[in-house]
Symmetry: C2
Subunit: 209 residues, 2 copies
Amino acid sequence: MKFYDCKTAPSPRRVRVFIAEKGIDIETVQVDLGSGEQFSEAFRRINPDCVVPVLELDDGTILTEVVAICDYLESLYPEPPLMGKTPLERASVLMWNAKVEQLGLWAMAEAFRNSVKGLSNQAVTGPDSYPQIPELAERGRQRVARFFERLDDELAERDFLAGSFYSMADISALVVVDFAAWIKIAVPEEAVNLKRWYGAVASRPSAVG
Amino acid sequence: MKFYDCKTAPSPRRVRVFIAEKGIDIETVQVDLGSGEQFSEAFRRINPDCVVPVLELDDGTILTEVVAICDYLESLYPEPPLMGKTPLERASVLMWNAKVEQLGLWAMAEAFRNSVKGLSNQAVTGPDSYPQIPELAERGRQRVARFFERLDDELAERDFLAGSFYSMADISALVVVDFAAWIKIAVPEEAVNLKRWYGAVASRPSAVG
C-alpha cells in the first residue's frame, strides 16, 4: 500500500494519526499542496478530485476520503479498535466523526480557504477555481467557535466523543482544534471539559506526526 | 426503534429509501421542519443539532447522521447488503457516499439554504441563525452542475457508484439528483451514463417514498 499525505494539511493528518495508533508501517508519499502538485497530470490520474489523503492498494485500487481509508485499515488491522467494536459503538464513532466534519472541519475549511491569500481562486478544494467569499470566511469562524462550545458540553458527559473509548472521531476533532490556530481560534479558557479531553488526546504519541 | 423523518427534506429521505430497501418496518414520526418543529424544546432534547434524520433506539439511545444510522441498520439487518460485503466494498461505499455528500449534497444545501426566502436567517442547518450569502448560493449551483458532469464520467465505467452493486452511495446520489429540482438544476441531456443510472435507481420501489 501507498499513502499519499501532506504534512501541513488537516485531512491527511487524520489518516496519519490513525496509522500511528495502529502501529502499522505504510509507504508514505508527500504531495506538495503548497506548490500545486495536487493539480499535476500525474496526481490527477491518482485522484481526479485533487486532494489528499489517498490510499493506493497494491493492485492499484485507489481509496480516497478519510472515513473510507480508516474503515479499510480497521478491517485489515483490527487492533487497537478505533472505529468501535459493536454495531452501536461503530454507529457512535461514525456519528461523531460526521458531526465533527460538518460542525467543525468543514466550517474551519470555509474560514481558512475563503480568507488565506494564497488560495484566492481556490476557495473550494478540487480542480475547479472558485473565488473567495469573505462573508463565508467570517461565518466559518463563528461556527468553529460554536463547535468548541458544543464539544465542551458533550465532553462534560464522557471521556471521549463516541463514548468511554478513544476513536477516529477524537482524531478528527483533535485535527480541528489544532488546525484552528491557522484561523486564530483557540479553545476558550472556560471550556474545561474540552481542555481535559484535548490534554488526553494531544499527549498520545500518535498526535505528534 | 423510532425514526424521526421529514417527508420533504433530502437528508431523511436517504434513510427512508435505505429502510425501504431493507424491507423493515420502523415506527416513523414526521417532524414538521416547515413550521420549525425541529427548534421546539421537545425536539431539542432528542437532537440538539435540530436536524432529522434521527433514529431512537428502544433504550432511548439517539443516533443521528445518515451514515451512522445506515451503518447501524446494516448491522441489525444485513440483507440485502447496502454498505458493501467485503472490506474493500465497504470502503468503496463509504468513499462514494462521502464524495456525494461533499461534491453534491452540501453544495446543493448551500445553494438552497442561501437563496430560499423562508430560510433568510437559517442559511446553515441547526439551532443558530446565520444570514444568507447570495454568492454562496450561486457557487453551490455551479458545483452541483459540475457534480452531475463528474457522476456522468464515473458512471461510464460501471453500473453503480461504488461498483457493480447498488448501495447507500447510490441512494445519496439519487436524493441529490431529485432535490436539485428545487434549485432548478436538472441532469443535462448529454449525460447519458447518469441518465441510465438514474433510470435504474429511480425506478426501484424504494425511491417512491
